[in-house]
């Protein structure tokens, strides 16, 4: 396809990072990463603690300056035009930073005022966002009286007060129970449907698979892989995974005997993972060898397997 045609098809780039680097003294937190996020896309940063995803997020949020490379957000340079960029962003930080002294609706009001929005306009918007976050009944409660899930929903609602062009969510569901997580996923999916560009960091593979069109797997400040969840699984893992447990003391010994079964083996402290096109066939082969696993499970490959392959570590450690 000619270059001109490509330009017309692809939505506009909202974020472009080129050799983006962040150093704290001698420590390199983000090491020359390249990526582009386009309008309407839901882009995920996946990685364990210390991978550099939160640092990358702070640079995208235009609150932490890069020390190397280039970063363009909404056509502007965050190092020199931070306030202009932040005026059009929505930020949901890892740690809720709501004002405890203020009521739920007041938290939305003061945050909206920081964007220079009028009180009159904000009154209508606040009602809409309280409805969206299902916090109408709590509008006059102080935030310290809210549950963890409610606080998280309020923080997300607050991040939407200026109708941002890009919504940045740093581990939005960490610490929430399954029901609260599903509610949040639903709300975020609705925003995506409305064309809001989402950038999400997460520990959770299911969250990444649910919410992200495209993922960047980071470890030690570098990009390990990039692509859609399906592409990453296809490229870095097999169709199925057989999980077998022989007892934590026996796994390493048994793994020696399983060599040659499936495409690849991964020995974890509590189980052995056999990557293969057919998990059932592998299990049959294991039984034929006279080995009897304590438990066995055949499942589809997931992003967890991709991460394990790329970094040798599980995501949540």
């Amino acid at each position: 396809m000619p270059k001109e045609a490509v330009k017309k098809v692809l939505p506009e780039a909202m974020i472009t990072a080129t050799e983006l680097t962040k150093k704290y003294g001698d420590f390199v937190a983000v090491d020359g990463v390249n990526f582009t996020v386009r309008r309407g896309e839901s882009f995920g940063l996946l990685g364990p603690n210390g991978a550099g995803k939160s640092t990358t997020m702070k640079m995208i949020a235009a609150t932490s300056q890069r020390t190397g490379g280039d970063l363009v957000i909404l056509g502007k340079d965050p190092n020199t035009q931070g306030p202009e960029i932040r005026a059009h962003l929505g930020v949901v930080p890892q740690q809720d930073n709501l004002d405890r002294e203020l009521k739920v609706w007041e938290n939305l009001m003061v945050y909206g005022r920081y964007f220079g929005l009028s009180r009159k306009w904000l009154k209508g918007k606040i009602e809409e966002l309280l409805e969206f976050a299902q916090l109408v009944e709590k509008r006059n409660n102080k935030t310290e009286e809210l549950s963890g899930g409610m606080k998280r929903r309020l923080t997300i609602a607050r991040g939407l007060i200026n109708e941002p062009e890009i919504l940045l969510l740093d581990e939005p569901t960490t610490g929430l129970d399954p029901q609260a997580r599903h509610i949040l996923w639903d709300r975020l999916f609705r925003l995506k449907e409305q064309g809001v560009t989402l950038v999400i960091t997460t520990h959770y593979m299911d969250e990444a698979e649910q919410l992200c069109d495209r993922l960047m797997v980071m470890d030690k400040g570098k990009i390990m892989a990039e692509g859609s969840p399906a592409e990453l699984i296809k490229k870095y893992s097999s169709k199925e995974v057989l999980e077998v447990r022989f007892g934590s003391e026996n796994n390493i010994v048994v793994a020696e005997k399983l060599k040659g079964i499936g495409e690849r083996l991964e020995v974890l402290p509590d189980r052995i993972l056999v990557y293969a096109q057919s998990g059932e066939k592998c299990l049959e082969q294991i039984v034929k060898l006279g080995l009897e696993p304590v438990t066995s499970l055949v499942r589809r490959s997931s992003l967890e397997d991709v991460f394990l392959r790329l970094t040798g570590r599980t995501l949540v450690e």
Binding site: A87, Y111, R113, Y114, L129, Q134
Partner: protein
């Protein structure tokens, strides 16, 4: 409250590009921060009012009238600077009120903003800059300072310690003292990683000596020379001396007037510059 997963709620969306003009926050960001601080302050209006009226009333009754009666009866009604003890004391009490009021707004709330609630980080995730947060906090602190000093003035007026005419100048002097001291305290508060008793130490080893040794209850020259330096570096003494000179006409060298104003303003400039740097650096971490 039950959650409805199937709720069809959608939000209307014009988009920030059309909705938000960054220049509004760039120009008026400090005012928006001050608006938030004042909204927080209103939550504590009863305490502020009680402190603003109760504190001066108690002081005036115990020290001003109690000690004042003793001093006046011993030395005559115009024993110090040719005025009553209560009139002599009034500018010092106002300077204390100004400093205390402003300080309350820059110490604990700063720790709250950086450590406990991290609200400064939420402000900074909008178009608001670290410098604007500092300026907004100082504006709100000044609003509190003005209200508190003015309430104190009304009490002093009721007790006959000051005149109507002296209200504006004493308000200006006390607020300037509060501004200078609060600016330094804001920088200091922003440097504290967590509350490790620093404010208690400041209260005991800075505020109390400043109050006791800054010519509050007697002229600074009455103290031994090795204690007078505390007053010289204290905004409390500079505001007190200035207030006495400008309210009831205490004799003072004209160059000293410039020194009093200058020191309080220099404290303000140094404090704000320092606070700007610390806020910007800490918010970028």
């Amino acid at each position: 409250m039950s959650l409805d997963v199937r709720s069809e709620t959608k939000v209307n969306w014009v988009g920030a590009a059309k909705l938000v003009d960054p220049q509004v926050s760039i120009r008026f960001g400090a005012l928006f921060v001050a608006e938030n601080r004042i909204r927080n302050m209103i939550k504590w209006w009863a305490s502020i009012l009680a402190f603003g009226i109760g504190n001066p009333s108690l002081y005036l009754l115990s020290i001003g009238i109690g000690v004042g009666t003793l001093v006046d009866s011993s030395l005559g009604p115009d024993a110090i600077d040719g005025v009553s003890y209560l009139t002599f004391l009034a500018p010092a009490l106002l300077a204390t009120a100004g400093i205390q009021g402003a300080m309350d707004e820059v110490t604990w709330p700063t720790l709250e903003g950086f450590v406990w609630d991290r609200t400064f980080f939420s402000m900074n995730s909008t178009a608001i800059t670290g410098k604007q947060i500092v300026d907004g906090i100082m504006l709100a602190a000044m609003a509190r300072c003005v209200i508190q000093v003015f309430m104190y003035e009304l009490c002093l007026l009721a007790f006959g310690a000051i005149t109507w005419e002296s209200i504006p100048i004493l308000l200006l002097v006390s607020t300037t003292a509060g501004f200078g001291f609060a600016a330094i305290m804001l920088g200091l508060s922003a440097s504290i990683k967590d509350d490790d008793g620093m404010f208690a130490l400041i209260g005991r080893f800075v505020i109390t000596p400043m109050f006791m040794f800054s010519g509050t209850f007697y002229p600074i020259t009455s103290m031994p020379i090795y204690l007078q330096w505390i007053g010289w570096i204290s905004p409390q003494w500079h505001a007190t001396n200035l207030g006495r000179a400008m309210s009831y006409g205490m004799p003072i060298e004209s160059w000293l007037l410039y020194v009093h104003w200058g020191l309080m303003l220099v404290m303000a400039v140094i404090g704000i510059t320092w606070s700007h740097r610390i806020f910007v650096k800490r918010l970028a971490k």
